[in-house]
Amino acid sequence: MAKFDLNDDGVVVIIGSGAGGGTLSHELTRRGIKVVLLEAGKRESLASFSQYPPEAFAQLTWLDPRTHSGTWTVREDYPTLPSWTAKTVGGTTVHWTGATPRIQPWEMKTRTTYGEMKGASLLDWPIEYDELKRYWELAERRMVVTRRHGNPGLPASNHFKVFYNGAKKIGYKRVHTNYMAINSRPADGRAFCIQQGFCVQGCKTGAKWSTLYTEIPRAEATGNLDLRTQSMATRIEHGPDGRVTGVVYLDSNGREQRQKARIVCVACNSVETARLLLLSESGKFPNGLANSHDQVGRNYCFHVGGFVWGIFDKPICAWRGTTLAGIVEDETRHDPKRGFAGGYHLELAALDLPSLPLAGLPYNWGRDFASIMENYRNMAGIFINGEDIPRATNRITLDRNVKDSYGLPVAHIHVDEHENNGAMRAHAQQQSKALFEAVGAKRVVHTRQTPATHNMCTARMSKDPRDGVTNAHGQTHDIANLFISDGSVMTTPSSANPTLTIVALALRQAEYIERQMSARNI
């Protein structure tokens, strides 16, 4: 592994080592570009992943506080965890479930397709679908996605059998074990999935793609990567010409360091990406970096989500098997006759016993709650994943009254959900209930909105600088050598789990950065 000097102003500094930052690190270093990768978390390994869920949660989760406001129900049900992101080398690719559906063509043109929606800030992507499709395909090959490019699907678990038969009985046609970046056979030097069910605790076989044990070690092998763990970026600095010059961070001993840079790429997961840009306010940029049009942190999106649990009178043992290996694609369409714009996926979802009460049944207690838990062996689960409608007022700001363990103002998340979300969620809950009842569920219960593991759109790509923060390559409109390299740049959230698209955009951005560097434009 390389070690670059703090005063080396020829390096690219990437902040965050997840799907975006980890992939970009590999793509740049293999092209001979020197990269300093700053990661706030520690480096775990297949061997160090805990198999005790509460301990795994503490090991991988971003636990620094965030505050919140607005009318969303997450405030009541998950007051201490309004957004669920990771703080570890590999970021959310350690914690994720591996689901990789693609965005649909019309989901990249929501303003055109859905028209004017009151209280919404819809915008068409500045990239054509066919252009992005090339990169999804590259990303799928890179991540070895099942059911794509000749890779077999994952086998059906007990849990999937319930989901599949219910879905078919209520008339769904496109139901399968999902597109998963989880090996259905040995590939890429990694093992096949042994259906152990501990996907979100960190996959101990490495069957699930994660930058922790794919992109990052490969980047290290080029000799061009300097990975600094437990290094928390606190501000991005700029020179008199407005171009960024480096990143200030606290190292693993809590000492402040200043790494010079030719280019800075921010990939901290939407909430923290917006926060870092805002924390980097200066005399020249009093509202934070890349924020001349007051767009940083706005249009914050998650996915219309929530769990639905079917309780049966026979055992299912949903914990046995890949956590999210099941999908219904039929509702992923724009059909206003259903009473809302956009679409959603229904995805199979299991929770381990310790996590079910707090994550999956968050506001309950007493006999009724206990009676659901008593049926743990006989439960099947669905996770709703639908398109959130962006609103300019749903945004990330700095809360100057609350400081984190680094002494920095924390992120404040404000959300008032668009009414479209409520209509979509109700429809998805109703369909999920019908699905479970079609195969004999005696009772069906659901959560309200769950804390977002998919955080997006806080520095969105836009053709017009007034509508967003970056151009179609994630390059900020304001500062040529400042890039955003995570889900923040998604113009709208679509109904697809975001990791595949984040990886695709990182692959595309790396090509652009190389060209711009060669041309001496940055």
Binding site: K161, H176, I194, W319
Partner: protein, 185 residues
């Protein structure tokens, strides 16, 4: 994973302020491995009476009649341990217990539920609710009681240990799922 009640209590720990005790049910899986069916959990901040009230609170929040007291004692002991480091939590717990009064621990369930409904929005109740839900179901006793098998990596996963043994529904066509990665051993 700290889920064992010290079932063989050799000495009353120095600095203890209270103790919870009980007897494991005959036939309890834990009784088979424990040296004695008598268990005890020392408290470092709460008195025995306060501990007993919190035991009743946890059982009212998550009433599983067949789940042993020892599992609920782990919740109380863990709460007590949190309060060692956190003075405001200590105050919250002691005031909450005082509000419920001395008869709460032995009151019938309907009365306990009514008393908790009245304080449902208080930080004391919410703290105990989150603590109960977050601790109880991670205990080894809960794993056994609910039939949860937990981690399987050390046993080769569930691939050949029942991940597809459900027989009350039709099989899924191969086109919508996928082949087993390796033949059965």
């Amino acid at each position: 994973m700290d889920t064992h009640v010290p079932v063989d209590r050799r000495e009353f720990l120095k600095g203890s302020t209270g103790v919870l005790t009980g007897v494991l049910a005959a036939g309890s899986p834990l009784a088979l491995i424990a040296p004695s069916r008598v268990w005890a959990a020392d408290l470092r901040v709460l008195t025995s009476a306060e501990g007993a009230t919190l035991m009743a609170v946890t059982r009212t929040i998550a009433p599983h009649d067949g789940l042993e007291d020892a599992a609920y004692a782990i919740v109380v002991q863990s709460t007590d341990a949190d309060a060692v480091k956190d003075e405001s939590l200590r105050k919250l717990l002691k005031e909450g217990v005082a509000t419920l009064g001395p008869s709460f621990a032995t009151a019938p369930e309907s009365e306990r539920v009514a008393a908790l409904r009245k304080i449902e929005q208080t930080p004391f109740f919410q703290t105990m609710r989150v603590k109960t839900l977050g601790t109880l179901y991670g205990t080894e006793m809960a794993y056994r009681y609910f039939g949860y098998e937990g981690e399987a990596f050390s046993k080769g996963g569930y691939l050949f240990r029942g991940f597809n043994d459900l027989r009350w529904l039709p099989e899924v066509p191969l086109a919508d799922s996928g082949p087993m990665p390796v033949p059965a051993p």
